[in-house]
């Protein structure tokens, strides 16, 4: 499966991003890593160009909260992205927040999977379960 990943906004925390690339490779994905300092448009453009099924966004410095609000509106402008699995992880707020408050907010922004201060591999396990579940649902519906 094809995955587009990167760190959103002016955030330059690159370490998790390097590990993300390694982990995704190890799990057999075809990875398109846009690196740090990547804007929303660039993510969606890349998803369209590569035909990726998954978009994995990182945010570490707290910026995501600002960018998140624009996700739905922007994504609506693109065709062919309706089935894109949208996932975000890292530090999803400025200061310290609680997952209970943060997750619903980001689901509302249009993310399927939200991992606030969750370890990379735990997050990627969740992703795989999510994809497997969706396949079952789809085949049931067809």
């Amino acid at each position: 499966m094809k995955v587009v990943t990167g760190v959103v906004g002016n955030d330059i925390h690159v370490v998790a991003n390097r590990l993300m690339e390694l982990s995704l490779h190890a799990r057999g994905y075809e990875v398109f890593n846009l690196g740090v300092n990547t804007y929303l448009e660039e993510f969606f453009d890349a998803a369209v160009e590569t035909g990726a099924e998954i978009l994995l966004i990182s945010s570490l410095n707290g910026e995501a909260e600002g960018w998140g609000r624009e996700v739905k509106q922007l994504k609506a402008k693109y065709k062919y992205l309706d089935n894109l699995v949208m996932m975000i992880g890292g530090n999803l707020t400025v200061g310290s927040g609680h997952a209970e408050d943060i997750i619903p907010k980001y689901k509302n922004y249009g993310f399927d999977l939200v991992c606030h201060q969750v370890d990379l591999n735990t997050g990627l396990d969740l992703l795989e379960t999510f994809i497997a579940d969706r396949k079952i649902t789809e085949s049931n519906q067809s």
Partner: protein
């Protein structure tokens, strides 16, 4: 009028600056209390100075933070700047500052110094009458530094390399050198009026598996670029590496070589200080463990014999620390420094010798670059990978060097890329590691080594 002064007038003619009175500022610096100058404290103090990190958007909150720090017996106050100001986006900073003031909520991750202006900020600095250190991360810090000095902030952190390679992906490196040249000159000129303004380089870089030789080379080069312009008080710095011995060795070598290279450009008269950063890499989320890590950093700083320590808090992994947590670290660090007695003098000759040779080799390669000025030589050396910073997000950085930790957790170079360390040193570095492992295990080791303190 000098070219520099012409440039200054353009810079300070910025619409966000409320008429900059050059003469008045000069007068202020000339008569400013010695207490405000960290260079003065470095001269007279016989203990390690303790400095936390911290910046809030409003004057009121910054003032309250300082009160907490003073209660905790702080030696040096920090002023951390918000990220809009760092990107010279004073418009957004202004808007966010107003929102923060009106709604009593923090809309900025630091103090927007340019918007507050020097007339206001100076009141706070002279009120507390303690040395203040400016922490930013700005490639074009010209306006910021003018405002800082006019406010009574007489220590400026950063540099063209250390504030660029870890902090930016696309900002042009050559421009950064030129903007910092301006900063050095302004600092140098003001230094003639009273005690010197202190410049400090940011040694932690990406805080992730950076080998000692790269850190030291960059410290030395930023020091030289600064002294060249007339700066008379400079701090080299580095952060806890994860191995006590490697830190001690790094401290010894950087202290020796900074004197050496300062003398080489006839700047032996400048005061060179050593600053140690408590662990700058990924922190444990368990706050009790974070405190252990912080105390251990303090012990190592004492073993290194640093002149100043910059602290972290138990909340580092979670988010921006509260003023309470921040002040608590200061009080704890002061207490620890007081009870750390009878420190042994540790010397590891073999490690010192290898590291010294590595630094000399890289420095020589930089100097051998055919360009005409030092900053151009350094620029070229970064561009062609003679200097290579692991985990830098910047596009100009080569990312060819690979480092891992040996059994004692020393950071070792296992792929040198284009960094010209000698075969002997390279062989020594690799010999410390177990390279018989397969690639997957080595990659797993690297992943583990990044989070070594977790």
């Amino acid at each position: 009028m000098s070219l520099l002064q012409e440039e200054r007038e353009i810079i300070l003619g910025n619409e966000y600056v409320d008429t900059f009175d050059f003469a008045e500022v000069e007068d202020f610096v000339k008569n400013a209390s010695k207490e405000l100058f960290i260079s003065h404290h470095f001269k007279k103090k016989n203990k390690m100075l303790v400095q936390p990190r911290g910046g809030f958007p409003t004057y009121k909150k910054q003032f309250a933070l300082y009160e907490f720090f003073v209660d905790a017996n702080v030696d040096v106050l920090p002023l951390t700047i918000d990220s809009n100001t760092r990107l010279n986006d004073y418009g957004t900073a202004k808007k966010m500052l107003r929102l923060s003031e009106d709604n009593d909520v923090d809309m900025l991750n630091g103090y927007p110094l340019v918007n507050h202006g020097y007339r206001t900020t100076r009141k706070m600095m002279t009120h507390f009458n303690k040395p203040v250190s400016l922490r930013h991360g700005t490639p074009d810090a010209r306006l910021l530094i003018e405002t800082a000095i006019a406010s009574g902030i007489f220590e400026i952190e950063g540099g063209p390399i250390t504030y660029l390679l870890p902090y930016s992906k696309n900002f042009p490196l050559d421009k950064a050198f030129l903007y910092w040249k301006y900063v050095e000159r302004v600092c140098a000129n003001y230094s003639k009026l009273n005690e010197p303004i202190n410049r400090e380089s940011f040694g932690p870089l990406t805080a992730t598996l950076v080998p000692p030789c790269i850190t030291i080379v960059i410290q030395l080069l930023e020091m030289m670029l600064s002294l060249e312009e007339g700066v008379k008080s400079f701090s080299v710095s580095f952060s806890q590496s994860g191995s006590m011995n490697q830190d001690i060795v790094m401290g010894a070598v950087i202290r020796k070589l900074s004197k050496h290279y300062a003398a080489q450009i006839d700047c032996a008269d400048a005061a060179i200080n050593l600053v140690y950063h408590q662990w700058m890499g990924a922190f444990p989320t368990n706050k009790d463990y974070a405190e252990q890590l912080i105390s251990i950093s303090t012990v190592i700083a004492s073993m290194v014999g640093a002149d100043k320590i910059i602290t972290k808090t138990r909340e580092e992994a979670t988010g921006i620390p509260t003023k309470e947590a921040n002040a608590k670290t200061v009080a704890n660090t002061q207490y620890s420094l007081g009870i750390l007695n009878g420190l042994p003098n540790v010397v590891d000759q073999e490690e010192e010798e290898i590291l010294t040779e590595e630094v000399h080799s890289i420095m020589e390669a930089v100097f051998n670059d055919p360009a005409d000025t030092l900053w151009r030589k350094v620029f070229n050396s970064i561009k062609n990978g003679i200097i290579d910073v692991p985990f830098s997000p910047h596009i100009i950085n080569h990312n060819e060097m690979i480092t891992i930790r040996d059994a004692k957790k020393n950071i070792r170079i296992i792929e040198r890329g284009s960094v010209p360390i000698s075969d002997r040193c390279y062989a020594y570095e690799r010999a410390q590691c177990d390279l018989t492992k397969d690639t997957t295990s080595i990659v797993n080791d690297i992943i583990h080594d990044i989070g070594i303190m977790q």
